[in-house]
């Protein structure tokens, strides 16, 4: 099949993950209270430390107000009109995949994430999260042979309580911000990864998040710890059905990296974005932060953000250890009425810490796409360096591109450099490609992926091509 035809196929399909799985779900009543927090904790049979963590967060949340500094506009969220716990009715996580409800397996297969032994990807271990619950994790045993723990966080709380207790909330404290506090109070599930000292994780780890219910909020929590000298590459993917109401997604991701360890965290976010008039879609308010605690440790965030009605997300690095490295590579594409306010924080604490930021924003339709970033060089960060590059591509004259790169520097022996530019797809460039026989949509797609290449190069191989196609799909009909 020619690549031109591929694009043709792609653009003829709107959001292809918009189906709903008809499955019996256990939900608790709408609304949030201390009782609800206790109920969630009880349902998950959690130890006391976790209930305390949740309650502390809940009480802090009650005193907080929703942030309004981002360049976003949306109607007020009624936090009492959301269901905080929903799980497919299937008691207990099954020891074997054969016992998992076939409807769920089928759902993930439709999403391109086959979980069954025969079909699953050979070098990627997957944790599949459906609404509030992890339904299956592949390759657990094989990973365990290397000492790698990869499980749902609910299981980890039971099986590795001391590890969870040691690290949970140490990077993103329960009262960090409004949405993080909400998540800390009601988080349902998510992934836990622990790579012990000296281990290079033998395969890609991946969590796939699926929102299915229309009235449920999704609050997953991910915690990844890489001990001294360990390394792992982790990818998360997200989709949701098409509903004409908005669903709230408020996740927290915490990364901890010790001496000489590294975590590469990639996201391909394709939550339902709402229709072309801005009806429906996910509100994606996510706190992601990693702490380079050890010397020479490294965290690399790569994100491809194409979905959600609203994205509010700033994957950050706290560079504590001397010579630690933070990276942020981002493509954010907005179309129709989508709004994205995304970027990163690089907090340089330790000496000779280095960070790189490459952000590519593409705005089409009536959307608004903002880069908001902070590079902070603390007084002890002698010899720290940062380089940031933020490019915007505008498609059409109705879309907005904003850039807000903060720099705060308290260390003279440091250097911070920021560059930003805007561009568009010019008619002359399109004509040139067309006059060589390349179709209009493909020409656009080539130029967009060229614009994003620096970021796509950072994605794991299997997903780079996916990301490319995703962008072409999302831009359907927005050029010209």
């Amino acid at each position: 099949m020619s690549s031109a035809a591929t694009v043709g196929d792609l653009v003829s399909q709107p959001y292809k993950y918009g189906f709903v799985t008809d499955i019996e779900t256990e939900k608790i009543a709408k609304g949030l209270s201390e009782d609800v927090v206790r109920l969630i904790s009880a349902k998950k049979e959690e130890p006391a430390f976790l209930l305390d963590f949740r309650l502390r967060a809940y009480r802090q949340w009650l005193r907080m107000t929703e942030p309004d500094w981002a360049t976003l506009g949306y109607p007020a969220i009624d936090y009492q009109d959301i269901i905080y716990y929903a799980a497919p009715k299937q008691q207990q996580k099954k020891a074997s995949l054969d016992e998992v409800d076939p409807k769920l397996l089928e759902t993930f297969e439709k999403l391109g994430i086959p979980l069954s032994e025969q079909k699953r990807l050979s070098n990627v271990a997957v944790d599949a999260v459906f609404d509030s619950v992890s339904i299956a994790t592949t390759y657990k045993e094989k990973l365990a042979e290397h000492g790698v723990i990869f499980s749902s966080i609910s299981e980890a709380v039971k099986e590795h309580a001391e590890l969870v207790e040691r690290y949970l909330g140490t990077v993103v404290p329960s009262g960090d911000n409004f949405f993080a506090a909400l998540n800390s109070a009601v988080f349902s599930d998510g992934s836990f990864v622990f790579i012990p000292k000296g281990v290079e994780c033998p395969m890609e780890l991946s969590t796939y998040f699926r929102i299915n219910s229309g009235d449920t909020g999704q609050f997953e929590r991910t915690l990844i710890v890489a001990e001294e000298g360990a390394s792992v590459s982790y990818l998360e993917g997200c989709t949701a059905p098409m509903f004409d109401t908005n669903q709230l997604h408020a996740a927290v991701v915490e990364l901890v990296v010790l001496d000489d360890a590294s975590i590469k965290y990639s996201t391909v976010q394709n939550w339902y974005a709402g229709d072309e008039n801005g009806v429906g879609g996910i509100y994606n308010f996510v706190t992601k932060r990693g702490q380079c605690r050890g010397e020479r440790s490294k965290i690399s965030w790569t994100q491809v953000e194409t979905g959600s009605a609203i994205t509010w997300k700033y994957p950050s690095c706290v560079l504590q250890g001397a010579d630690s490295v933070g990276e942020f590579y981002s493509v954010a594409l907005t179309n129709h009425r989508q709004q994205a306010d995304t970027g990163t924080k690089m907090i340089h604490v330790g000496p000779r810490t280095r960070s790189t930021i490459v952000s590519k924003g593409i705005s089409a339709g009536h959307s608004v796409n903002s880069y908001r970033g902070l590079v902070q060089i603390g007084p002890k960060a002698v010899g720290a360096r940062n380089y940031s590059q933020c490019d915007s591509m505008l498609i059409g004259d109705q879309a907005g591109a904003n850039t807000y790169p903060y720099i705060r520097c308290q260390q003279p022996e440091a250097s911070v450099e920021h560059e930003a530019s805007t561009c568009r797809i010019s008619a002359d460039q399109l004509f040139y490609l067309q006059s060589r026989g390349i179709g209009f949509e493909e020409a656009v797609s080539m130029m967009v992926s060229g614009f994003c290449r620096d970021v796509f190069n950072q994605l794991p191989m299997e997903f780079a091509a996916e990301a490319d196609k995703l962008l072409a799909l999302k831009l359907e009909g927005s050029v010209g």
Binding site: S2, S3, A4, C423, S426, A427, D428, Q429, F431, Y432, L433, Q434, S435, R436, G437, I438, G439, F440, E442, A443, M446, M447, S449, G450, F451, C452, R453
Partner: protein
Amino acid sequence: MIRPDAPILLEIQGLHASVDEQPILNGVNLTIRAGEIHAVMGRNGSGKSTLSKVLAGHPAYTVTAGSVRYQDVNLLELEPEQRARIGLFLGFQYPVEIPGVSNLEFLRVATNARRQERGDDELDTFAFEDLVRERLNVVQMDPAFLERSVNQGFSGGEKKRNEILQMALLEPLVAILDETDSGLDIDALRIVASGVNQLAGPHTATLLITHYQRLLDLITPDFVHVMAAGRILRSGGKELALELERTGYDWVDAELARQPVEVP
């Protein structure tokens, strides 16, 4: 090579075109048969470049009257990419730079689009690399240029070589070369001209748009046309170009005064 019985590849009749409602072409007539090399000459602003852009389907130009037949299809109905796929090629005077898009990838996608149209198999990455390396010889181009973004940071001469490389890969039936000689030093000009000569054959035709005789010293035209005020004022053989070289274009004004522009 003139063969009166050769099939007609391109037939332009009474072509009028405008940009921003400003008429630029005012009734161009031109017939090109297989095997022929035509040169269109004329002063700046005479409409030469516009003619090439209209033939390639640039969206900024509106055809207000006339027809263009390419073999047996109405060329003006086709999208630019369709024109390219059926074998019409425009070598640009100013090839644009396209940051981020790999030259190699671009050449491969374009070549496969043309091959698909002709019913040939698509070339995979490896087969294409073999082909492109072979065709690089036509323009004596450094393979390093394949790894860069399309035309980005290329010198004027490198851009023009890249154009001829594209021509070598797309194997057009009708190649229109818009001021391919502009901005080239004599060595680059020789290389480009030799590329064009290698690619010309009995079944294809070439339309050279140029200011100067010097390109025509290297590529001998069968026909020379002088454009002025958006139409072809005079046509002749290669000796017409030499005459222009001697006399310049001053006679054009007198001639124009005698032949008022027709309004469509």
